[in-house]
């Protein structure tokens, strides 16, 4: 399945993907996963890619304004989460509950 969003690779400015020698760089596996989740949801028409990009740019700007360490995929995660909540696809409560279940080991599916 090819992604239907050529825009993903073309984002520039603050929203540009970190690259090294022309390759995407994931510092750890969760980064690749959250990258794939956001692109797949857009492929599924859950939102337009531009809407995600706008959220991402806003998260990067807000993190910079408060002087937070620049971590691209943390911003990506925050933008993705916020977009899903805004669209009513998830609730804050179920997301927090599920996160706690993984953190405590109550849920572990690899």
């Amino acid at each position: 399945m090819a992604s239907t969003h050529p825009g993903v690779a073309l984002m520039d400015g603050a929203a540009a993907l970190p690259r090294k020698n022309g390759e995407l760089v994931f510092q750890s596996p969760w980064e690749g996963r959250v990258f794939g989740l956001a692109v797949a949801m857009s492929d599924r028409q859950a939102y337009a890619w531009d809407d995600f990009r706008d959220h991402l740019i806003a998260e990067i700007a807000s993190a910079e304004a408060r002087g937070a360490a620049s971590d691209y995929y943390e911003r990506w995660l925050a933008a993705f989460e916020k977009l899903l909540l805004d669209r009513g696809l998830l609730s804050q409560e179920e997301l927090d509950t599920r996160t706690t279940e993984y953190a405590t080991g109550e849920r572990d599916d690899g």
Binding site: M1, G32, M41, G110
Partner: protein, 206 residues
């Protein structure tokens, strides 16, 4: 069969962002909005769009350059650094497959993986079924991947950890003697560097 274990899989608890990402994926799948295969497919597409896997470049170099191969097997991290690929991210041991020895890599306790050279681990690598069964019945698991090994071939299973990761140097397929390094690299699959497949010669591909 030997089964080495270096221990120390979880030096740190999983980070909040990793847990949060898991929670998001799990909920989206539960709601029928996504499948993990779809996410795998997106990640794979982007990885392939952005060039060959780094590990494939390492394998192709080792096939064409015997001196490089010796250095790679002696000190995997250092030899990968030589190619400018950041092998030192975590200690990496390269295991050579031969006509008599077949190596296969797993992480029994979690999903330690040499992602600095192989990219992101496939979902099956993280699945409890692969992690437990490949140690107990490697030949059966390899057969399920479509890899039939002669009974005379010794199978070695290597258990990765956060401190010690493994990558397989697959056998160079017959009939590729004249191919340049770049074309050789294109033949090398992720699965062959985990040890669940062999590299096929171009005529046998597709």
């Amino acid at each position: 069969m030997s089964h080495q274990h270096a221990g120390g899989h979880h030096p740190d608890p999983e980070s909040y962002v990793a847990l949060r990402t898991k929670a998001l994926e799990s909920l989206l799948i539960e709601k029928g909005l996504l499948s993990s295969d779809m996410v795998d497919a997106v990640v794979r597409t982007y990885e392939q769009d952005i060039g060959p896997l780094k590990g494939a470049q390492v394998v192709a170099r080792a096939w064409v350059d015997p001196a490089y191969k010796r250095r790679l097997l002696a000190d995997g991290s250092a030899a990968i650094d030589e190619l400018g690929l950041e092998g030192r991210r975590s200690p990496l041991v390269v295991l050579e497959n031969t006509p008599t020895v077949h190596n296969v890599v797993v992480c029994t306790l979690c999903s330690c993986y040499p992602w600095a050279v192989l990219g992101l681990p496939p979902t099956w690598y993280k699945a409890p079924a692969y992690r437990s069964r490949v140690v107990i019945e490697p030949r059966v698991v390899l057969r399920e991947f479509g890899l039939e090994l002669d009974e005379s071939v010794e199978v070695r299973v290597w258990d990765s950890s956060a401190e010690q990761r493994y990558m397989v140097l697959p056998e160079r397929p017959a009939g590729t003697e004249g191919l340049p390094e770049g074309e050789l690299a294109a033949l090398v699959t992720r699965d062959s560097m985990i040890g669940v497949a062999k590299v096929k010669a171009p005529a046998a591909v597709g």
